[in-house]
Symmetry: D3
């Protein structure tokens, strides 16, 4: 069993804000992240899959295939977008880094399985100081 | 003469969009950067000042002073903000990295001069692949 | 269950030296790290906590809370300090990276538990080539 | 139990190419990595070992010892070399990052065991976007 | 006048070897870099152009245009290639980092000029410890 | 004329403290950097030399030669040392990053000149946020 990690990047706007809370409560809980006019990040996404290496190629999974899956299903949908407004699979989900990572898992897991591999983790780095990781359960 | 560089970071939303252009022309020229609902970045700012070292301290300029100037006059105004909507000194300025760097220079230059140093350059990194630098002229 | 990691940095002096060993033996075992007049590092600390995301906020734990806990209980005590001489919770402990990580775990674990989360790991990077990680047992 | 990681780097040429496949099939499966005249990488290798800290030194394993083992048995053999042609322990092995990591494990594991530690993982970063990790089974 | 820098990466094999020198002299002068079977690097290329910002867009030069020029004329020719054997514009040039940077300048300069900008520098990072920069004269 | 930069690293302790000032004044001016028991850094040193490339080798200067000069004359003297107490060429010099860079210039310049090259700059990074650069005048 070998673990293979592909790194991809995207730039997006978001805010942490609940419509069912007052502005004051949003600011109290989310601080600057609740800025009404949004802010944004250069997100760095690490997708790790695992499998036995396929003996013909020495690969767990062709990294070009993995990159294509991540780009087509995630990056093309979220890059240069607003995570609150523009991303169908984030509809009605507060775009905390945790929730974004969980949403990415749900999108990617079936595509990875179809390739005969197992998705191991989604790591999402929001800033150089803050990151989250989700292992599917 | 020694050059001293302070690095500070901020996260902000922006879009490249001119109201006097059609949406089609904005997309043609600015591409994904014109996304109506914004996108954003983890900006990295490098402020370089130069002077003779002051013999008492061995400093060009106390880096805590430099950091305070940059934080009070730039970071506190732009961090977790929208560069098109929320920043008084960017009003009516298209927030390309180039224009943001020039605007930061105008804000910082008098504060640095007041400390007896010369502002040498403003370098602004928008993504790991794109950066700009401005030397004041 | 999502894992959230906060990165904090501090600068400190230390040496690896046992008073019950001769200088020769200290040098033999610890090499340059035993330099009597100390040396130092820019330490990078990664604190990882895990929990179910709290559905109201989408957070495992508010990263501002996590950062405050780490800064108040660790960074404010060790930054710009001597790990052998200045840090009460390191008294009589040889400040190898391993021992520093274990000591940080003991300090932080109860504060994380009080927030309803579980401390998962302490990773401490001493140089770009050397790092250690401790999972509490 | 503490985990200690040593980072080492090396530069090498390789290609992904099977002699029992046609050139067309090699290109189809391996793409640019099959370039007949080779290409190369600045590989970054992370070797993680685990053990209880030895109370005399506070070390899991003296990092100078670990570094010596990795340099003598791996880096000196692969640095500034061709992974397909010059490395005895890679003979007849397609040098995908996965296979290189597995081969490094086999070389290093007995040396680490001899020091009373357990090899935990071999992580090999081929580019800033692609890396693999192997845990020995 | 603002300076804009675009970063691109490529992986290539090379060796430092002169056919008119004996193998012994090649090894004496170039050391491990003369390995007959090649070695390779993840090269990082920084292309800096300068101009007044164009007032309509706020750009020195559309970075997508700059990236396209660099990719079409450099990256597509050198990525996953052998710098000694596969690159027409490096024919009969010893591929030291210095010579590669000078060759890249000659290729890129007319394309940048055609866009109304001035090429300022080519910086080429061969390893994390070694880099060169060329300003055209 | 090509510019070549070599990166080297060292770890050292220091403090900013003048014996002819009271402790109170030292703390007022230098803050935490005046901690009596020292603190320390992982310093990163960038030495840039310039020359025409020598046509036989394609080098400005053999980087192994440059690295040897920097290691023998700087790194071996300052690594794992105390910059206030252990370094002969820093005697009676307050070890601010600025003063360290100037001292390194004085040490290295004649050695570089002897190789037929010109020392262009000494850049010293003290932390990820603070760096200084000196060009010899």
């Amino acid at each position: 069993m070998v673990y293979v990690t592909r790194r991809e990047t995207f730039n997006a706007a978001h805010k942490l804000h609940r419509n069912d809370w007052s502005d004051a409560k949003n600011i109290e809980i989310f601080g600057a992240c609740a800025n009404p006019n949004w802010h944004g990040h250069n997100y760095v996404l690490f997708v790790t899959v695992k499998a036995k290496t396929e003996t013909g190629t020495g690969f767990v999974m062709n990294l070009k295939t993995l990159s294509s899956i991540v780009r087509k299903n995630i990056i093309d949908i979220v890059d240069h977008k607003n995570l609150n407004l523009d991303v169908p699979f984030m509809k009605d989900i507060l775009p905390s880094a945790e929730n974004v990572a969980i949403a990415f898992w749900k999108v990617l897991e079936p595509h990875i399985a179809k390739e005969g591999c197992k998705l191991h983790s989604i790591r999402l780095q929001e800033t150089e100081n803050n990151s989250v990781e989700y292992f599917g359960e």
